[in-house]
């Protein structure tokens, strides 16, 4: 997601690689590069300037000039600390204390409010055990109400709508009363998209806020927004004084500078990031992890967390035993593949592993590659799956026919599988792998990069 920014920062920091210490001259050079990197990433010009001035001061601070660390590494640390600082230190939670908790969603047209509303309902339902009610207050855009209804159906939460009513204040007030009869403890109010210079519409959203007194007001921003993000964020903040920001469409290749600008300008925390079109593609925002990602240092914590969500302890123990005995078979392998899939698409997963994101940025990781492997395994008989050593040339030919691939493909896959089995068997003997799943077992191998 932030590849381009991290690429450019990389160039900026590389100018320091060969230097033995930070000097006025080399700092000035790399600071200029960093500034350009930020501006090209849509960070507001003024903010980029402030940011790099701060870095410059820190880098040239007395204590830093004396320290015997490599200047490149020191600079990375300074930039990283500042980035985390800029993006708001700690992760900010969402206030769910109200009864019912009322959450108001606002933003520009096309920023992704309605989709986010659906995702938030799903998130609160599945991860916070809440009973949300979605409220359709976009009375202007054609079919917006219908869109929210469809999403509500998808995530299995009720929706409150009044097709004929054109008064969002009224609708939202009635919805809150309705929530009480339904026993819903969270009310999510989706509103129409509006431009910050549209006085009438801005008045409307302020009126809605005054009427329903939400516990939490969230401002939704398209992460691809340019320099104007600052003005929009400010204008909305002046009118509705929101509690947090939601960044959408972060699964594209946007450099995401808007995120930095918005945070810096209005000082409100970024609470959620949205990373895909599926209803579960919503993550809580962690500033430190995001900073690591920007700098191309991966986000191993998110990776492990996502792995853990899909992780089945008993299954893992069973697998571990099998690995130790070198008995891993195709059924296990297929199960693992399915688990990986559940975690998301390959590229975004790999992007979280330190050092990998840079290697994969120009490669199109085809999720279909997994399809091919699955097809091969599914063309095997149950006995073959349980006992890989059974597969001889004749069987291979049959499998190749079955899955519509070449014999070479089958051979290559069998060889890879055998290698993997050996590798995991050996890993299981080493003390480093204490019953953890394969993904964690690999971690030490990636660590030494930076």
């Amino acid at each position: 997601m932030f590849e381009s920014l991290s690429d450019r920062l990389d160039v900026a920091l590389k100018t320091l690689k060969g230097e033995s210490k930070l000097t006025e001259l080399n700092v000035a050079q790399s600071v200029k590069e960093i500034r350009r990197a930020l501006v090209a990433a849509d960070v507001n010009y003024k903010i980029a300037k402030d940011f790099t001035d701060k870095i410059k001061d820190k880098a040239l601070g007395k204590e830093n000039l004396l320290k015997a660390v490599k200047p490149g590494e020191l600079m990375v640390k300074i930039v990283m600390d500042e980035l985390i600082d800029l993006m708001g230190g700690q992760a900010a939670g969402i206030n769910l204390k109200g009864n019912p908790t009322v959450i108001l969603i606002a933003g520009l047209q096309g920023s992704g409010k309605t989709t986010f509303s659906g995702k938030l309902a799903h998130f609160l339902k599945t991860k916070r055990s809440k009973k949300p009610l979605l409220v359709a207050c976009d009375v202007y855009r054609p079919a917006a109400i219908n869109q929210l209804s469809v999403l509500a159906g998808q995530v299995g939460v009720p929706v409150y709508k009044e097709e004929e009513n054109k008064n969002p204040v009224e609708i939202s007030l009635k919805a809150i009363a309705h929530a009480k009869t339904l026993n819903c403890d969270v009310v999510i109010v989706d509103t129409a998209g509006r431009l910050s210079v549209d006085e009438e519409m801005m008045k409307e959203i302020a009126n809605i806020k005054d009427a329903i007194l939400p516990d939490e007001t969230l401002f939704v921003v398209d992460s691809m927004t340019g320099q104007d993000a600052v003005n929009t964020a400010q204008a909305f903040n002046e009118r509705i004084n929101y509690d947090g920001v939601v960044l959408t469409k972060l699964d594209g290749d946007t450099r995401g500078g808007a995120a930095l600008s918005v945070k810096y300008t209005v000082g409100k925390p970024i609470k959620f990031v949205s990373t895909g079109e599926k209803m579960d593609a919503l993550d809580v925002f962690y500033p430190d992890r995001m900073a690591q990602r920007i700098l191309g240092m991966g986000d191993i914590v998110s990776f492990v967390e996502r792995a853990q969500e899909q992780f089945d302890e008993e299954e893992a123990k069973r697998l571990e035993k099998k690995i130790k005995k070198n008995q891993l078979d195709f059924n296990d392998f297929l199960g693992q593949l399915k688990q990986i899939r559940k975690m998301g698409d390959m590229k975004s997963l790999l992007g979280m592993i330190p050092g990998i994101s840079k290697m994969t940025k120009d490669i199109n990781i085809d999720d279909n590659a997994l399809n091919k492997v699955e097809a091969i395994i599914q063309s095997m008989t149950p006995q073959e799956r349980e006992n890989p050593d059974l597969i001889n040339m004749n069987r291979k030919k049959r499998i190749a026919l079955g899955c519509g691939q070449k014999l070479d493909d089958i051979n290559r896959f069998m060889k890879q599988f055998e290698q993997m089995r050996q590798f995991m068997h050996q890993m299981s003997k080493s003390p480093m792998m204490g019953g953890a799943p394969a993904a964690q077992g690999k971690r030490p191998g990636f660590r030494g990069r930076r």
């Binding site: 096309g110 992704g112 079919a143 549209d198 691809m224 993000a229």
Partner: protein, 317 residues
């Protein structure tokens, strides 16, 4: 020029001016503030100019290009006062916009002479594809053309309904196979419908997609191919809709979408209000795909033919 056309143009101009007001005030306001109290164009003024251009989303590369040209002129003319800077800047931007050799549309001219004329509309999520289609259909309808809209966004919740409501507003035909239908099949059959029903124009909507999703981009290529299968030479236009509030990512979007579908036109939406028109300058400079339309408001008639000179004038007036 007849009184009527002059009047009409004036009205349009007002829309554009109003739409760009925010851009304009920031652009001009920032520039005049930057050069206040200065009599000659020096390094400091150029730095400020860089700031103004970048914060208007013109983009780093194009900004550097413009600055270099002005530097050249400063070097050539030796003495340049700040009043002249306004004119020179305007001049350079018009020239830059003109360098992609594209003629501005006279009116809402149909691309090509084929009948039906097929227009495929693509873009990332939430840029305003469906709205732009509705507005464009309205213009064709005003010209007395028979128009059909094809509901090729079968993915996003209620997208089909949204387009259908637009078709009713415009009073044109509508073709759909419902949600979750194969978009390539919808595209193919929309063209079929247009042929069978003697339509002049078929406009095909597609689902919004981020340009980094390879599978989805491949799907677009397939949709385009299936249109061509039904009618040779179609689609006659592939139009990318860009959100003017988008920053430098717009350039990436244009690049990837043109790889997948060979774009022939751009439409820039949400230029009213807060939007920064600057991205139009950057896009024109970096791509040889003409900007044909700009969206300047929510009303059905708030889609304009893009005119370079009028656009630049609007920035500076």
């Amino acid at each position: 020029m007849s009184f009527f056309t002059r009047f009409f143009n004036k009205e349009k101009k007002e829309d554009l001016d109003k739409g760009l007001e925010k851009t304009k005030t920031s652009f001009l306001g920032k520039l005049s503030k930057a050069i206040a109290g200065k009599s000659t164009v020096d390094e400091e003024v150029l730095d400020e100019l860089e700031n103004v251009l970048i914060t208007s989303d013109v983009g780093l590369d194009t900004t550097v290009k413009i600055i270099e040209r002005i530097e050249e002129r400063v070097a050539r003319d030796k003495y340049l006062n700040t009043e002249e800077l306004n004119f020179i800047l305007r001049d350079e931007i018009v020239r830059l916009l003109g360098e992609n050799n594209s003629e501005d549309l006279e009116d809402y001219t149909l691309p090509g002479t084929g009948k039906p004329c097929v227009i495929m509309v693509v873009g990332v999520n939430g840029v305003g594809k469906t709205t732009t289609i509705g507005k464009l259909a309205h213009q064709y309808k005003l010209q007395g053309k028979k128009v059909v809209l094809g509901a090729g966004d079968t993915f996003r919740a209620a997208a089909v309904d949204q387009l259908e409501i637009w078709s009713k507003r415009v009073g044109c035909d509508f073709f759909s196979k419902g949600m979750n239908a194969d978009p390539a099949a919808v595209a193919y059959e929309t063209v079929q419908y247009a042929i069978d029903n003697n339509c002049d124009v078929a406009i095909i909507d597609t689902a919004g997609r981020l340009h980094t999703k390879i599978n989805l981009m491949n799907e677009l290529t397939k949709i385009k191919r299936s249109i061509g299968k039904r009618l040779e030479g179609a689609p006659h236009e592939v139009m990318l809709v860009l959100d003017a509030t988008t920053g430098q990512n717009a350039i990436e979007q244009a690049r990837h979408f043109t790889d997948a579908t060979e774009l022939t036109a751009l439409a820039l939406t949400k230029l009213d209000g807060t939007a920064k028109g600057g991205v139009a300058i950057g896009i024109s400079d970096q791509f040889k795909i003409p900007i044909k339309y700009i969206g300047v408001g929510e009303g059905i008639d708030k889609l304009q033919v893009f005119n370079k000179r009028a656009f630049v004038e609007s920035l500076f007036e």
